[in-house]
């Protein structure tokens, strides 16, 4: 019996602590489930069985002595963007073929320090560039959810699609992700899981392959808001190796997730009411408003006037930084090398074959917007708009404590349906990019199902450093929604 895999992180760690089950037993079951799912879900890119079992064994020894951290003995999956020492870390790009880092990312180090057991590396869009997991060199992940009466393969969202799928399919008790424009929150919404990114700088970027540095936020996927708070708590904290890491103590997120929201002012930004938004999304949003009102919140209409510029701004800053961050992949020191007649040709072939189309597109766009003659019109303008968007949030948060919006403009879509049209793919991030541009905390909480039985999420955004309010509002939504759906196992 492996029913315990469907338990939440908080539940399994309680059982582990009570010695009702051993970490080795849990890890063995999780590994088996994860490996068995690979043929259908393709959520993982690498396992390290001996490492997993050794970590579980170490947890058992600690638990036997009554010791252990926040995550002691719980298997955690890791997005392939994070360096795990000695384990292939490729950002799901061909160009990082065979790269095994001799170092451990800060986020994973912190998770292991709290007793998390490494389960495996999860699949993702190449260099986190994508919203459907279809740009992965290792093939796309399949969403464990299916529409009612359909066997069509759906996207788990992206870029952290493998992590989202692994949590939704109960293959692990939590997973790391990174959110640059919605890469945690959108897949969380598509898989009925909780996805969080905290304030920029709360969780260190050290050891996570850089995509767009000023927008990259590490964060967790979890089955519940409480689990998400535990994981966020574990992975946060000042990192002297990261210059933009916040030199602040981490508040008690877990306690915040249990706090009352009575009297909290919830802002509803009118600009998020997009033309052509499905009625179901509109209805769910209103439902969220009603739930929070019932929980004692005050509802405030607010305005974020520069929202319509957020996506274009994002798609200038993001590729600009990415084009520079990806310059280091030259085939010389690690990863793929495709030999040419001379050095230049070796570079060209390596980068030409090593990077997928979406990555090449971003490098080209980024190079273009930073070029002399275009810089002022694109990059500099984008920085100015970024400032306006920050001011929008400042003004909105003068009137409210948290914002409530939909997480995505739709439920999970069919694989292949948007991959030919980058713009329609980019529109997936329309509700999520603003929080990355502003660096403020945001989370997606599963709130209901659409007509075809697919999960939908609501997004909570709070002011910088106020993750506590985000977790409390998220927990209130979770309580009210009573979302207990789980995908029916078909894989």
């Amino acid at each position: 019996m492996t029913d315990f895999l469907t338990l939440s992180l908080a539940e399994i760690t309680a059982r582990l602590k009570a010695r009702e089950i051993s970490a080795t037993e849990v890890a063995t079951a999780a590994l088996a489930a994860a490996e068995a799912s690979q043929g259908e879900l393709n959520a993982f890119t690498a396992f390290d069985r001996s490492r997993t079992l050794a970590m579980a064994e170490a947890s058992d020894q600690k638990l036997a002595k009554g010791e252990g951290g926040l995550l002691e003995g719980a298997p955690i999956a890791v997005k392939d963007l994070f360096a795990v020492e000695g384990v292939p870390t490729t950002a799901c790009s061909h160009i990082l073929d065979g790269f095994k880092p001799p170092y451990e990312s800060t986020v994973t180090s912190k998770l292991w320090a709290e007793g998390g057991v490494f389960l495996g590396k999860t699949n993702m869009d190449e260099f986190a560039m994508g919203s459907s997991n279809e740009t992965s060199y290792y093939g796309n992940v399949i969403n464990p959810w299916r529409a009612k009466g359909s066997e069509a393969k759906l996207t788990p969202g992206g870029s952290s699609g493998g992590s989202a799928a692994a949590v939704a399919a109960h293959l692990c008790y939590g997973a790391t992700g990174t959110d640059t424009g919605g890469s945690i929150r959108q897949p969380a919404a598509f898989t009925g899981t909780v996805g969080v990114k905290a304030t920029y700088g709360r969780a260190s970027r050290w050891g996570a392959v850089a995509f767009a540095s000023s927008l990259d936020h590490p964060g967790p996927f979890a089955k519940t808001v409480k689990d998400a708070a535990i994981l966020m708590q574990a992975m946060s904290g000042h990192d002297p190796k990261e210059s933009t890491s916040l030199p602040l103590d981490v508040p008690d997120f877990v306690a915040a997730a249990a706090a009352s929201v009575k009297g909290k002012r919830i802002g509803v930004p009118k600009e998020y009411r997009m033309d052509g938004m499905p009625a179901e999304i509109e209805t769910l949003w209103q439902q969220g408003v009603d739930w929070l009102k019932a929980a004692g919140c005050e509802i405030v209409d607010v305005s974020l006037p520069h929202t319509k510029y957020a996506l274009p701004t994002y798609y200038i800053i993001n590729p600009a930084e990415a084009s520079s961050n990806l310059a280091r992949y030259d085939g010389m020191r690690y990863g793929l090398r495709v030999e040419g007649q001379d050095l230049t040709e070796t570079y060209e072939k390596t980068r030409g074959e090593g990077f997928g189309h979406e990555v090449q597109r971003r490098i080209l766009m980024g190079t273009y917007v930073l070029s002399a003659g275009y810089y002022d019109a694109y990059y500099l303008k984008a920085l100015k708009v970024r400032r306006r968007i920050l001011e929008d949030f400042d003004q909105a948060f003068a009137q409210c404590d948290a914002l409530l919006t939909p997480s995505t403009p739709s439920a999970a879509f069919e694989l292949g349906s948007k991959s030919a049209d980058p713009i329609s793919m980019y529109l997936n991030d329309i509700f999520t990019v603003t929080a990355n541009i502003a660096g403020v905390p945001a989370m997606s909480v599963p709130a209901g199902l659409d007509a075809s039985g697919l999960p939908l999420g609501l997004q909570v955004i709070t002011p910088a450093l106020d993750e506590a309010t985000m977790f409390s509002v998220g927990a209130a939504l979770e309580d009210a929604a009573g979302f207990s759906h789980t995908p029916e196992k078909w894989w």
């Binding site: 880092p101 050891g207 850089a210 540095s213 190796k241 990261e242 210059s243 520079s324 310059a327």
Partner: protein, 497 residues
């Protein structure tokens, strides 16, 4: 200024040159600008490389606060504005020895703004060069092309080493002034301890911008600051010795003049100096110039330095060479020449100050500059390696200034100090080298010489300059210990001169 003008004759008239320099000075620091790797010179290739320096995936830079303070110190030494806010940008270009694919530099907001320094020409005259800015940046690695005919090797030991790029105004008018500017900068950074200044180790190297103009145009440029009065400049990259700087400018000026006089126009371009052939060669034209796509480095926060910290650093600054030179002249009474030779090097100046402390400064300067430096140069030793300590030399100076020994004997004592060491006063005492000032003893020698050499006495009456022969004979008879002044006086008196 006209005394120092550098006028080149062309077939169409006279030409002058205008030079500005960008000097890269390696920050004296044990670790790199953004990583903890060592910076020691001459280590085995790729032994001082961190994960950050090798640009491994997910690695991030962390600023070295000491390097920032070194830049502030240097800025203060250049009498420059220290910017309390500065920022790092990425300068993007693709090159085998640049693992990140970008160099972290300061483009828009450098840490140091405008300043100026006073430089000295070979003839001792002074000129002022404006400093436009100083910014911090990381060095690249080194490509090694000569180990294998078919491959280039890369050594990343230098990758990430902190550099200060010091940009001058185009206030340099001759090849000699360019070298003088470089020497002054080197002296300043060595005084400050912010750069070793060793050009052979690549600790300082210069990009030299050269243009030509007709006489009078530069003065117009100085009056209104408009570059239209000047010619198009060419930048000669990475010149790594004083002599090469001069040669490169001389060659480049003549090249531009010939080009213009043959009806061509100077194209803005980057050139390389070929030291073997003494020529500059085009590296890339303006059209081929890199588009560096500068943008703020998202991995680093802007640098903010509190005024209080700047004030502290300022208070701790050592006396700089220009101030030291003035003090040596005004307070110690040294000649401009002696003062500037001594002040040019901090170790020498420090040595001299010990020799001069409480003793005759002029004699001290003379001995340090001539006897000591002469001997050190001969033996190829640095001042810090001198076998004769400043304390010993100070005592020797005292013996000279109090007439205990003559200058000539002092040279013998100096030799003894050099070879055997010891206390100068004891050496003089034990070896009986004290100067004889007893006029009776001198008189008896003089009387005897006059009596024995009547023909010399006759000749000296016709030619008083022949007195030297008698002085020499007296000194010889007294083993050089006679006081020369007393000998002279007595001889003149006895010979009726």
């Amino acid at each position: 200024m006209s005394d120092h003008s550098y006028v080149l004759q062309g077939t169409t008239g006279d030409w002058e040159i205008v030079v500005g320099m960008e000097v890269h000075a390696q920050v004296a620091s044990r670790s790199k600008l953004f990583s903890g790797s060592a910076t020691e010179y001459g280590a085995e290739p790729n032994t001082q490389v961190s994960l950050v320096d090798a640009a491994m995936p997910g690695m991030l830079p962390v600023i070295n606060a000491y390097c920032v303070e070194q830049a502030v110190r240097t800025g203060l030494g250049l009498n420059a504005q220290i910017n309390k806010y500065s920022r790092f940008d990425r300068k993007n270009y693709f090159y085998p020895d640049l693992p990140q694919g970008y160099q972290i530099s300061q483009f828009q907001f450098p840490i140091v703004g405008e300043g100026e320094i006073e430089c000295e020409r070979d003839d001792g005259s002074l000129f002022t060069v404006g400093i436009e800015r100083l910014h911090l940046e990381q060095d690249a690695g080194k490509s090694i092309h000569d180990l294998d005919p078919n491959a280039t090797y890369v050594d990343l030991n230098r990758s990430g080493v902190a550099l200060m790029e010091i940009v001058s105004r185009p206030h340099i008018r001759t090849p000699d002034e360019a070298a003088a500017y470089m020497k002054t900068l080197r002296t300043i950074v060595r005084y400050l301890g912010t750069c070793g200044g060793d050009m052979e180790k690549g600790q300082m190297r210069a990009d030299v911008n050269v243009s030509i103009c007709r006489p009078g145009q530069y003065e117009k440029f100085r009056a209104d600051g408009d570059f239209k009065h000047l010619g198009t400049r060419c930048e000669i990259k990475n010149v790594n010795s004083m002599r090469f700087i001069q040669q490169a400018i001389e060659y480049e000026a003549r090249r531009q003049i010939d080009l213009v006089e043959e009806g061509g126009t100077v194209q803005q371009q980057t050139r390389l100096f070929d030291a073997n052939k003494g020529v500059t060669r085009s590296m890339r034209s303006k059209e081929e110039a890199h588009d560096y796509r500068y943008f703020p480095c998202p991995d680093l926060l802007p640098l903010e330095i509190p005024q209080a910290r700047i004030d502290e650093i300022k208070a701790e600054l050592p006396e700089l060479p220009a101030d030291k030179r003035k003090r040596f002249v005004n307070e110690l009474g040294l000649s401009e020449y002696d003062a500037s030779v001594l002040a040019a090097d901090k170790d020498r100046a420090d040595y001299f100050e010990v020799v001069a402390a409480g003793h005759d400064a002029k004699i001290a300067a003379n001995w340090v500059n001539n006897e000591l430096f002469g001997r050190l140069n001969k033996e190829d030793l640095g001042i810090t390696e001198s076998p004769v300590s400043a304390g010993q030399l100070g005592k020797l100076v005292d013996l000279i200034s109090t007439d205990v020994i003559s200058g000539k004997i002092a040279k013998d004592v100096f030799e003894i100090l050099w070879d055997e060491g010891g206390d100068p006063a004891e050496i003089v005492e034990k070896r009986g080298l004290k100067q004889v000032t007893d006029t009776g003893a001198i008189e008896s020698v003089v009387d005897q010489l006059i009596a024995e050499n009547p023909e010399q006495v006759t000749s000296i009456e016709k030619n008083p300059r022949a007195l030297g022969w008698f002085v020499g004979q007296v000194m010889k008879a007294m083993q050089g210990k006679a006081n020369p002044k007393a000998v002279n006086d007595i001889l003149r008196q006895k010979l009726g001169l």
